[in-house]
Symmetry: C2
Subunit: 321 residues, 2 copies
């Protein structure tokens, strides 16, 4: 099964989520509506809603309405964190589109993020299952902690694999994990199914972010929508960089990377990393997480939705954007 | 009854809220714990928790535990919005203390705000009354909208009284209003009582913010903890400025106020405002809101807690800091 066919199959449901998103970001304030809609239009793969929807098919069809609210809330929380990142990183382009920050200024971007958080919470208050609220709030807390951890780790070459994986977890895996578990929970799946899907989402999210970190080095700028080596430029040391730092040219690499690094130095630093087997090692770690994700699905009774999860999970791990 | 005596009386309960606040902002991330604690230590009047606690005394004593969670959540949401404001306004001092932004940088301040929002929501998920969640989420949405409205209105001399009052509502009145209504709701007050207290809080909050806007012009910098004329400097046109702009020296005032204004120009602009009866007119508007607030309390059966509300409400309207 192709990823595109899976997308097609869930398109009607993704469109329900899309309308919910547009409805939710509407505001009497024209600027706020515009800035939020700019974020929506900039798109993204809507991978979190997709996971939530697919997982909900393992439950009862009649609770479908809540699944869409959960999916939309997850996407809004994700968008809120991106818009805040753009303020801090001073980013003018994301996914090849101008950021809210560049179009409307820092202040509007900051409050657009806060507004999206608030709207996401508002959407969730329609759901009466308290475990959903608590899981969501716990995840938000941990995601914020991860963002602060990241500050501590900038330009820190002493960090180890564990530190890196913990950041990957908080940056991406937790939100994909909760997309799966809440999609399942909201459609009344039993606790065991919810647990397997939570872990499936967690491992998939780990593979997803590690792949993202590879794309930052290997990707084609015109396809990925952001400049090559951006993480390195920011001092965000990902596994390929940390691995290469242990190699022969490690000390040289560490000296090259600093906030005021020239573009040519950045290119040379990326080349040093590529000259080691850092890319292969990192790719193999992503594959190991993907395997773990798929093994979780193997624990559940066969179901068409599980095949779709395999397709999506495999795709996000092999994608080039 | 003196304000200080009221504070004393509720101190044991305010201390429960204070411990809840400290517990809630604890994190494995040292920097995050430090930055949040810095915010807590910087203090503030804890006026929102105080209103919530006093109002809860009109209900049933046995639901007291939830009142403290509500009070702490309200204070955390308030603190989160302040820390985000400091990032955007590039403020290094608030209430005479260094801001999180100045101590830990923009990035940490941004995520500390997000973290506090998430923690506040987490605390609220322990409460099973869904009206509380919905009111809180609705208020957060409207507060964010108000913050974006404020951007639109910067340096805009064409705005009218209505625009100003709407900003005051969103900036302060809504959160004080919900402090009162949720304090009452969480302790099982009937709908009519909740409604009167909501309106009491609303009108008190209007008076509170209008008084704040006066203090920005009239206050003693060493007592208020921020520079005189700060609103004007930022282009935040409050009622005294808008009123003075209609006067004889109005055109001159409008020409003086811009982002790069010198300190001496700022002082001259403040003087122009003081030379009109803008201060008296604004003061009388604050008093009118205070009267409306007290009239709401008059609709309820006599209760000691109502006397305390009168004391606090009168104090915040007459304070000099």
């Amino acid at each position: 099964m192709q990823f595109v066919s899976v997308y097609q199959r869930y398109r009607p449901e993704l469109e329900i989520v899309e309308s919910l998103l547009y409805d939710s970001v509407g505001s009497a304030n024209v600027k706020l509506s515009e800035s939020s809609q700019q974020l929506l239009k900039a798109g993204g793969k809507r991978i979190r809603p997709l996971f939530a929807i697919i997982c909900s098919h393992l439950g009862h069809p009649q609770s479908r309405h809540h699944v869409y609210s959960v999916a939309a809330a997850l996407e809004m929380i994700h968008m809120a964190s991106l818009v805040h990142d753009d303020v801090i990183d001073d980013s003018s382009v994301r996914r090849g589109q101008p950021t809210v920050k560049s179009l409307y200024g820092d202040r509007a971007a900051m409050y657009t993020g806060d507004f999206l958080f608030a709207r996401a919470i508002r959407l969730l208050t329609e759901i009466t299952d308290f475990r959903i609220h608590q899981e969501m709030a716990d995840t938000m807390v941990r995601v914020c902690e991860g963002e602060i951890d990241q500050i501590r780790d900038f330009y820190n070459w002493q960090q180890n694999l564990r530190t890196y994986l913990r950041r990957v977890e908080r940056k991406t895996a937790l939100l994909i994990s909760i997309s799966c578990s809440l999609g399942a929970r909201a459609s009344g799946c039993d606790d065991e199914t919810v647990e397997h899907l939570r872990r499936f989402g967690y491992y998939t999210g780990m593979a997803f972010q590690i792949t993202d970190d590879l794309l930052d080095l290997e990707g084609d700028e015109s396809v990925v929508g952001k400049p090559v080596g951006g993480d390195l430029q920011q001092g965000n040391l990902t596994l390929p960089a940390l691995y290469a730092a242990q190699g022969e040219q490690g000390p040289e690499l560490q000296n090259m990377v600093h906030a005021e690094m020239e573009h040519s130095t950045l290119e040379a630093a990326v080349q040093i990393i590529k000259d080691t087997d850092a890319i292969a090692v990192t790719r193999s770690l992503a594959n190991r997480y993907l395997d773990k994700a798929l093994r979780e699905l193997g624990q559940l009774s066969p179901h068409e939705a599980l095949d779709d999860l395999v397709t999506v999970s495999t795709f996000v791990n092999q994608r080039s954007y």
